[in-house]
């Protein structure tokens, strides 16, 4: 049984939570030029590491807030809990974020608005 530290409610049993799978999957912008193959990497393909995994959880039976978790998929050790919209702060969490193939995927590149040219 995992003990998960909800950012709002504190330590609770895993049965109060739902796991939402891989975190930091950004949806490509509406006017993307992606091929079906590249779009499928956003829609269906998932990082599935043996080691540190960044994932989303929701405290379904509590405050119902979503948050992120860095967890080891071998030992189930929870490395850190951090808010939605933020990046992991621990070294292991950062490394896992960078190691994910998604960081170099076309779908993720297409999720960021083009930089405005400032004259």
């Amino acid at each position: 049984m995992l003990k998960i530290k909800c950012p709002i409610c504190g330590n609770r049993d895993e049965t109060e939570f739902s796991c939402g799978g891989e975190a930091h999957i950004a949806r490509p912008l509406v006017d993307n030029k992606l091929t079906d193959k590249a779009f499928s990497e956003y829609l269906f393909m998932r990082d599935n590491p043996k080691g540190i995994f960044l994932e989303r959880w929701c405290h379904t039976s509590g405050c119902r807030r979503w948050f992120n978790l860095a967890r080891d998929t071998i030992s189930h050790e929870i490395i850190e809990v951090y808010p939605i919209g933020q990046m992991p702060k621990t070294a292991k969490g950062k490394k896992s974020y960078q190691a994910n193939w998604r960081r170099r995927s076309k779908a993720e590149a297409a999720s960021k608005p083009a930089k405005r040219i400032v004259k």
């Binding site: 995992l2 079906d36 393909m45 599935n48 071998i74 189930h76």
Partner: protein, 432 residues
Amino acid sequence: MANKDLDRGSRALTQKSKRYSIFSLARNAASYHQNWQQAWRHAEPKSAYDAVIIGGGGHGLATAYYLANIHGMTKIAVIEKGWLGGGNTGRNTTIIRSNYMWDESAGIYEHALKLWEGLSQDLNFNVMFSQRGVLTITHSEHELKGMSRRVHAIRLNGIDSDILTPAEIKKRVPTINISPDIRYPVMGGFVQKRGGTARHDAVAWGYARAADDLGVDIIQNCEVIGLRRNGSQITGIETSKGFVKTPKVGCVVAGHSSVVADMANIRLPIASRPLQALVSEPIKPILDTVIMSNAVHMYISQSDKGEIVLGAGVDKYNSYAQTGSWPVPEHMAAAAVDLFPFLSRLRMLRQWGGIVDTCPDASPIISKTDINGLYFNCGWGTGGFKSTPGSGHIFADLIAHDRPNSIALPYGLKRFETGYLIDEHGAAGVAH
């Protein structure tokens, strides 16, 4: 649907002396069973093979067997990190059935069931395939209606499936409570009489022995640590026992599919989750069929040893630890006691978990990849055991001919680009 003139790969073993029969049993009994030959050689990797199968579970061994037997590729190896059948092959609840709703699924699972029906003879190894029937029960009016839709779809594909009334269920399973006043009243159900169970270890051992007899090298305790390629052509694999040259690699590693795919920079839609099961202490025969319930979410049968075998759904988060989380077996036991109150007095004997490769549409991936000579057979998720012979048969065909046959075609990775998913989540029942 499965092709009618199916090559089962049922040729006699090449070494007649190795055949198991009533005579060999009598002969060995005379020498106090001290002189049984080893079932397969302990091979060390050679420097090159025509094809290498990664993963020595049921699916991998079946692939190797059919490659050698039907396609004549005998210079091949099966590479296994641990021991044969030590992963999900030895960790499931051994249920076999083919009552899936979609046409594509009917094709693949019925193909497997047809192979199951003669497997012991084909392999000259008793896999203890027992067609004791798989009975799915329903607990509400709506579930009953959904069920009849499924049953009719299944029957249209020529697969046996019969709707049962509560009274008929009671006749088949005298221990079940069909009172309308209980928490989960049994409103009806359907049975696939050709479904049943098999001895999971025997499946791995039977395929291993038969493949070994045809010259396949089965290499245990050998981990794959890398894939070598030249441009877009696979050239070999790096293992803990050195480099092995090969133009064809078939990857059948279930929960570790993403790990191997990462070595080749291939993306998969797989999430690795623990699937748990448990057995009770052995008791006298009380349940002679398999019972499944979608609403209560569990499946139950009794093993030949007398243990009550229970299973349910996957754990809710990704994991590579072959154990699982405690709330899941607790749920399983609670659901089982809801249906069979007498189970509450039994003690749990063992609990275990296997890491299953779950796919977004709950259907497998049997596919070529962007790399020539690299093939994947994965994504079986929670329903791999029942398809072991079919999976190996089809995958061997894909590897030998480098093109998917009509059964494998819908299961390519391409479906995640086209959107032509084979969504068996709701359609397949609980233990798919």
